[in-house]
Symmetry: C3
């Protein structure tokens, strides 16, 4: 099986790729590259990448035609592009030369658009897309089949919305936002006023604002604010099946891994990283550059720069020690029992002598 | 930025709002209110709310035109509506005066309806909705773009189904049910008969019944029963990304927070509250008014009135103590070690004397 | 209420059912069976099943017309089919005689198909389905309303795709694959190259391969590989809201319960079972026939045949002991304190005598 799925584009000379990422070339740059791949799955026309010297052996066994690497691979005659950050170089080359083409530009005749909709140039609006009244769509936007865009919603330039996204009314996307399939933006927040054993819905009258360069994975949910806005700031990346409740604010350049839940009105600073399946209760303040371990349950504010883990989440040093010791509890209990016997014995002996 | 997104409706006199919620007016009720908001984000035409006296200071700094409050805010000349339950009053006023208008009534020409479908008066069926044969839709129902309704499914009056809901065949919704986007009702339960290392699908022949005034959040999944019905009883509110397995029964007026999972055939009483990310194994009986902490893993039946937490879930008093102590394990271990040394020392000394 | 929802098909003689599963008949096989049900909800025309002798009492109170049972129910005159595996027999009979009919064959006129699409015989393609260029669809496939199939995607024979599935470009389904509603196959994996505080998207150029007889529940997400393929091997069954990251490989005949998350490049052997809400970090190797308890957090490789639980996951014997002892921590602490006092007392007494 050919794993090099990006090889449909035209081959490009290694020279041209090297220039684009300002890499030093070792060996001949004359060859043509037809795709990118990891070492293991590379085909003979592929460029692959070596993140660390420990992968030199794997590189030697790879079928790749050339490598991106931090330092030359010894005893390998194939051409190598030397670059301090091979992964970033890969990302750059993939973005510029090896992406599958975007869908055809234009508006599919089966798309249903409301009244007073404004659509910029160079867009692709796929089949069976629905767009509500007064929505605005920027230039270069790609909207795949079956997406719904609500009334009065604004989409910036060069966004990509994958099939079956629900981007509901009154919300705003910045530029270059990517929403993967099945994601819901602007569902009602979970708010009820309790009275005599009944839960009365508090209408959710706010919206969602998503800034530039944010990406949301598949089947993510972001609730609209009760009043005001739920906000995801620029550059933040959010993985699949994350739940973001009403009035949450997520700062710039955060990374939130799959299946995390963030409860209402909690605010995150910038560059926060949250591991998968962690949960944050409502109304917390999480500082800048905080790291939250996967599976953590955060129930208190966290200061900038801290790393926390566990349920409830505490400083990671404390958490890690406790994590290890939980499994030594049977031994601790046994030691305690043994010690209790010894003390009883000592006591008896002391008694006997008095 | 104007956070008062509900101001599109016509302004209403404070007098009229006060009458509707039977509030006592302090100050002039002549002014017009154009929207509702929280204290922080209020615009000059907004009515805001003060849940507790500790928010009086925030109220003084708010730009709101008037307040809903339990007791008068001292030293503030603005008009105030005194009411014992400001949050409920807000919900009531929002529902009655400040909701964005429902979509236009009628059936969009691109909706696809099957044979023998019955549709009540005053409905709104949006573009690209699909409705299976013999489905019945009550009066006043709103079905947004792209919703799918399966064969033989029955929807009561005044329900709202947001874009991309999948309400599959043979299921039943009561009146005033709200389903947020991406939610799936009636997917097959997860049932297989194991035989010689293979998993043979057990057809899921039952359905889902959702009673009056239930709301389900976005991307929720509710599986149909193997036989019989998966049931969510009246008044229950369920947050985003909750998973409800086949043959589960959820009692009246429960609250289930985001990302909870409830396994097959587990039954909940009424007024149960479940915190986010909790999990309940299959075939449990959870009594009435039980409270389950967020992140709990419930593996045993829970009696009415109990509050439980932890993994595995136990009475919350026991759980909270253990939660705190887990992080003192290193100290306990160190104390134990120190004590062991002391005991050894005592023993030696006692030995020396004998 | 009649729970026997499968009774719409024509009644079948017990004789014919018995022959199909090679069961021994006790009593008269002349009667007609109109549906299947569990004991509790059975109607007078139903066949029900008795998994163990402890359910004999419940069987006697059931209204079922006949039973599938491992051993005869004493003192019950109704006909019984004796079979070593009643659940498997139920599954077989349901599949063959009592399934609701599949949707009408043919392609709905509102379906939108791209260029060079190949569609096999005997398919049902529902309303408002979108199919990308060059997709291939095998024979007997059922695609419900609103499904999206991407470009170059291949679907084997007899697959069933429920409403609102997003099966994105370049992916492959084997034969008899079932995808429940809202499930997304082929969303981009979560991969970024960090540089100076920014996250640069690594294009996800691979695909997803799903082999024969796999079933995925509702709102599942399966990311495409960065390069190569994310693979789910034959016979594996995956419950609702499971998240499978890029380059994961799941072996044959695994069972993955709801809300599990499996991070990038982790590989599972065959017959692995994972309980609900468990999480597996990236790049793990999980052997064959491994069992992972619900809620576990797996952070290390697991050898074939092992059963693990807890966060972090460890051997289940160690985990279960620690699980119980966590709640005895207050007693252990108190015992330790008492012991410390006793030791101090002993020390003092010993001191006094010297």
């Amino acid at each position: 099986m050919n794993h090099s799925l990006c090889s449909s584009t035209n081959p490009i000379s290694l020279q041209e790729l090297a220039q684009h990422i300002e890499a030093t070339i070792q060996g001949s740059a004359e060859i043509l590259i037809s795709g990118l791949s990891h070492l293991e799955g590379a085909s003979p026309g592929d460029l692959s990448f070596v993140l660390k010297p420990k992968f030199h052996e794997a590189a030697r066994h790879s079928q790749a035609a050339a490598f991106l690497t931090t330092q030359p691979i010894p005893d390998d005659p194939r051409p190598q592009l030397i670059t301090p950050h091979p992964l970033l170089a890969m990302a750059t080359l993939a973005q510029n030369f090896f992406l599958p083409p975007l869908p055809q530009r234009g508006i599919h005749p089966t798309a249903v658009t409301g009244q007073d909709v404004r659509i910029g140039p160079n867009v692709s609006i796929g089949p069976l897309v629905t767009i509500g009244d007064r929505a605005e769509i920027g230039s270069g936007v790609t909207i795949y089949a079956g997406v719904h865009i609500g009334e009065d919603t604004v989409i910036g330039d060069d966004c990509i919305l994958y099939p079956h996204v629900s981007l509901l009314s009154n919300c705003t996307l910045g530029h270059r936002v990517i929403l993967q399939s099945g994601t819901v933006i602007g569902s009602d927040g979970f708010g009820y006023a309790q009275d005599e054993g009944r839960h009365h819905k508090i209408p959710q009258l706010g919206n969602v604002i998503i800034e530039d360069d944010v990406e949301l994975g598949a089947n993510v949910t972001v609730d609209r604010a009760t009043f005001g806005s739920t906000i995801i700031k620029q550059g933040t990346k959010i993985d699949n099946q994350v739940q973001i409740a009403h009035n949450v604010v997520i700062g710039e350049h955060c990374v939130v891994v799959a299946q995390v839940g963030i409860a209402g009105s909690t605010r995150l600073g910038h560059h926060v990283m949250i591991g998968g399946q962690a949960g944050l209760v409502d109304h917390l303040k999480i500082g800048d550059q905080v790291r939250i371990a996967s599976g953590a349950g955060v129930t208190n504010h966290v200061q900038s720069g801290q790393t926390v883990g566990g349920r409830p989440a505490v400083d990671h040093v404390i958490w890690r020690k406790a994590q290890v010791l939980q499994y030594q509890l049977p031994e601790l209990r046994n030691e305690l029992r043994a010690l209790r016997k010894e003390v009883a014995d000592l006591k008896r002996r002391l008694q006997e002598r008095s």
